[in-house]
């Protein structure tokens, strides 16, 4: 019995030690994104922070693949660069009308594992609705999807830079 308790304690202690080493590694993406956290009020469209006022989106429903062929009159499509994350590439495309972002499509997303896809399904609708509200790349990362968020924001920023 004592051996059982000892084994459990050692296993848990080992896991905690292992994970805490990983969690203290200084990694760039989430830090870079977090600097935009205080700027959620800068857009002219709405007063409330983007992350809490997102219109209800059903997870998993967001445009995937290029919208260039489905544009209506007055719309232009701008494609962002591919942002590479540790989980895989992220690339987005903006549909602009009167220099406003009206749609965001995801061209590439991490999909190595089913979990990557599940995280994307959850994160992209939030990121897109934040983008439509903020109309800039200064949006909050989605918690639990910091790498995907960072990739999205990078690709979004490059698309906005390209739009001129």
């Amino acid at each position: 019995m004592r051996r059982v308790v000892l084994t459990i304690v050692v296993t848990i202690a080992g896991l905690v030690a292992l994970l805490s080493f990983k969690s203290h590694l200084p990694t760039a993406p989430s830090a870079a994104v977090s600097t935009t956290g205080g700027t959620s009020g800068t857009s002219g469209t709405g007063g409330t922070p983007a992350s809490s006022s997102s219109p209800a989106t059903v997870p998993g429903e967001f445009p995937m693949g290029s919208l260039a062929g489905k544009l209506t009159a007055g719309e232009t499509a701008v494609t962002g660069h591919v942002a590479t994350t540790v989980y895989g590439p992220v690339q987005i495309q903006l549909v602009m009308r009167n220099s406003k972002i009206v749609k965001v499509a995801v061209l590439q997303q991490p999909m190595n594992t089913a979990n990557d896809i599940q995280i994307g399904d959850f994160a992209f609708p939030k990121l897109i609705s934040e983008t439509l509200t903020a109309q800039t790349a200064k949006i909050d990362a989605v918690s639990g999807a910091s790498y995907t968020s960072a990739g999205y924001i990078k690709s979004l920023q490059s698309a906005l830079d390209n739009r001129a």
Binding site: I8, L15, L18, L19, N115, I119, G144
Partner: protein, 483 residues
Amino acid sequence: MTSVARRPAPARHAGAEAYPGQRPPAAPPRSGAAHGPRVRPRAVRPQKESGRVSARVVLAVIAVGAIVVIALWWRSTPDVSGLGGWLTGAGEALGLLAGYGVVVLVALMARLPPLERGIGTDQLTRWHAMGGRYVVSVVWAHALLIVWGYAVQAHTSVTSETATLLTQYPDVLMATVGGFLLLGVGLISMRAARRRVRYETWYYLHLYTYLAIALAFSHQFADGAAFVSNLAARFWWSAMYLTVAVLIGWYRFVVPLRAFARHRFHVIGVRQEGPGVVSVYIGGSRLDELDAEPGQFFRWRFLTRSMWWSSHPYSLSAAPGKDVLRITVKDLGDHSRALARLRPGTRVFAEGPYGAFTATSSGRGVVLLAGGVGITPLRAMFATLPGRLTLIYRASTPQDVVFADELDAIAAARGATVHYVIGSRAELGGDPLSPRVLRSLAPGLDEQDVYVCGPDGMASAAITALRAAGVPKRSIHRESFEF
């Protein structure tokens, strides 16, 4: 201490007189050549050091493997952030350890000769039982942490995440079935340890482990972050599983089948040694090629209509001969009772020899300490070990003593000593195997090698006493037949 019968050699024919109530030995089986003492003992060979590995080496290899597995997790994990990250990270690390652990557990039971001879089946079985409980727990901790971690990351409930995992994630449903099978096998083994299920039930349900491992294999590559984008990891991981599968196929199936064809094991005769104790003489050809040593055992499967489907480990109770082997079994269950009714000529499927309870070539004196039916392997060693020999034979009643005639004859022939310690604790007025008693029965005990075989309770108590009597740990050799 009247009931401690001491018999310094030479002592002859003392058996029947000293133990009123003991049945005279039954007539030998038809083939007279197979009578116990006449099984010609071969000179004991010096222990083959090559082809054996020590426990320390095996444990070190297992630990290094675990470190490599953790390194694999480390490489594939960018960082750990938030509650979801912690839970998922822990779940992934445990999943990898579980996938590695099942391979280790199966490999320990693959009848690998270096492990069987170097560490011993009883020790391997203890490791397997301990490790099995651990790995089943790790499997389930992995499953629960992944569900919880994914649920936190995706901001959903645990129930809906469970459904998502089972239905949307590739091969997770299959792996879950495997997890339940492993849990079932674990629970059955715990019941088996408490003797609430039959040996055969336990044995055959254990085979579901292979199915469980096969079911869980593919989800590792389909869902595991450590494997999806790492071809080398997939290759080596598959190679590990494949290697162990081949070893099992070879050592558990091919080798015994070839031995069956080559040696043509068959029953020569059965002899009643005492109440509820029978010896079975098994003949065959070229048995010397098996390299069996006194103290080792085989797994026997007697090919009769009622017994062919179960195999049981029994020690050799006489030194292996060129064309005959002998086992002696105490009536402990249905199977051992059925042995008494075996007919000569019955074919036998034998796997072995197994066991690390064999002579070491230290050149020092040797003390054999037998409890009850634990006498069987020691009886074989008593005839063959070189040098100064003392046998201490503990039994609770005179009726339980078997081989008294043989032991006395061997003792007389080679000038060895046999002490019979008979009677219950109360009758003997104290601990019959206390350090003081042991030292008086075997003078110079602390400078000799001691071989202990008996029921677990007796053996553990005896080892404690031996340590107290000053025998170093490395000089004590133990065989447990309770596996």
